[in-house]
């Protein structure tokens, strides 16, 4: 019997004591270390130094009396929580019948420390949410690095970029070697999205020139045309002008103002609508307008490439037809965007007067 107790004690005192440090959190896992083993470890200055900063203490030997060592706890001034693994094991020990484990009693006697009722029953609850969110162990990525794309970026940048990239792969068979023939792997998909995103940005640059050219014969951008009194009824136009004079204190004649001034007014109008939470449909029209403009730009570049590479008449004809369709959609969504924006603006700015 004496051997058995001794062997068990020896095994426990040979426990591995692990410190896990994650951000501002430091957790100690002492296994089943008993008092005698703790005291031996305290002879190591490095171990003593390591105890400083522990804020979550996993009770040794399931919180049993023989796993308790006051000298160790005295060296941990920053404890904010205690966890017991399988506390029922402690209860089964005849020597420990008190309601609190010794470590909890020690903490309860110290003002400013968490009281026994605060002790998290599960370790995961004791670890602050931030540490879990950061997924201890994974390198942190900056928010900007790992953020999700929004609707406009998907519709207006990635999709036209992907169409352009795929079109180029189709027109230039040699470039297909970039991607494996047997399906697309996850890594290649990621690479493709990056290339599509980069290509999409350039494509939208071309798209800006296209829209500048496109709207010229129609009398300028749709929002400018709305301001000039086109596309909407005379009554609506009157209300728009009135709202702009009242809220935005616009003094110039919006029907004839210069383009930069006109764009500044449109931006102001959008921010009023967005602040009122009414920009949902406006954003959808804007995203679709960006998509159509990007598609028109990709198709235009592909059309030029097809002409340079002397592709067949069918290919060129198909690209011309698709380009025309994309321009038609762009025109439609551009008009919808301007109408929706100003109608919402009139409604939003009319509300305070009604109340």
């Amino acid at each position: 019997m004496a051997y058995r107790r001794s062997a068990s004690r020896t095994r426990n005192n040979l426990s591995l004591v692990t410190f896990v440090k994650c951000g501002h959190h430091k957790i100690i896992f002492p296994g089943d270390m008993e008092t005698e083993g703790w005291r031996r470890l305290l002879q190591n200055p490095e171990f003593v130094h390591e105890l400083n900063g522990v804020n979550l203490f996993v009770a040794s030997h399931h919180g049993r009396e023989n796993g308790y060592c006051e000298e160790v706890l005295d060296l941990c001034p920053n404890i904010r929580g205690v966890h017991h693994f399988r506390q029922e094991e402690r209860a089964s020990n005849a020597g420990d019948s008190g309601p609190l484990s010794p470590i909890c009693e020690w903490l309860s006697l110290r003002p400013g420390y968490p009281q026994s009722s605060d002790y998290a029953p599960r370790l995961i609850d004791a670890i602050p949410a931030a540490a879990v969110r950061n997924r201890c162990g994974l390198p942190r990525l900056g928010r900007g690095v790992n953020r999700a794309f929004d609707f406009y970026e998907y519709a207006g940048v990635i999709v036209p970029g992907a169409v352009f990239t795929l079109g180029l792969l189709w027109l230039l068979p040699d470039s297909r070697a970039l991607f494996s023939k047997e399906g697309v792997t996850f890594g290649e998909l990621g690479l493709f999205i990056i290339i599509a995103y980069a290509a999409g940005q350039f494509i939208q640059g071309i798209g800006n020139w296209i829209e500048w050219l496109w709207w010229k014969p129609w009398g300028g951008y749709p929002s400018r045309r709305v301001l000039a009194g086109h596309l909407i009824s005379a009554d609506q136009h009157e209300r728009v002008i009135e709202a702009l004079r009242r809220d935005a204190k616009v003094r110039t004649d919006v029907t004839t103002c210069a383009l930069p001034e006109c764009l500044a007014i449109v931006r102001e109008v959008y921010s009023v609508v967005a602040a009122a939470g009414k920009a949902g449909r406006v954003d959808i029209f804007n995203g679709n307008y960006g998509l159509s403009r990007g598609l028109a730009a990709s198709l235009l570049v592909l059309l030029l490439a097809a002409i340079v590479l002397i592709k067949g008449l069918y290919v060129i004809g198909a690209l011309v037809a698709l380009l025309f369709l994309a321009l038609q959609r762009m025109h439609r969504f551009g008009t919808h965007y301007a109408l929706e924006l100003f109608i919402q603006y009139v409604l939003v700015s009319a509300k305070p007067a009604e109340q």
Partner: protein, 116 residues
Amino acid sequence: MFLARAGIHRLDRLLVTNYDEDHVSGYPDLFGNIMIDVLVRNPSVMPGTIRFLKTEDGMGNGIDLLVRSIESFFTGGAPPAIDDFGDTSFSHYWNSYGLPPFGFTDEKQFEPRYFR
């Protein structure tokens, strides 16, 4: 198998805090289903010593497989080349084993040792 259901099929490190059955009862399940890269344990305790210390209590399935895998699988060797866990770090301390029946005799600490 909790980890496999959660989509985890490989562990970078498995820490064995002590050589008691209640701490390693899940080891056979883990060893059979998950790839364990490195076993971290008190390296001063030889497999034979664990058997010796378990003479009276008897060896449970977990401890038995752990001892056998220490003998044949996690036999030591060069520490892992990549030891980067981002903003999380680990440090280990232990008492070294002396000759029974005197129990542990040497409190000297070593650098953490890994067994692959």
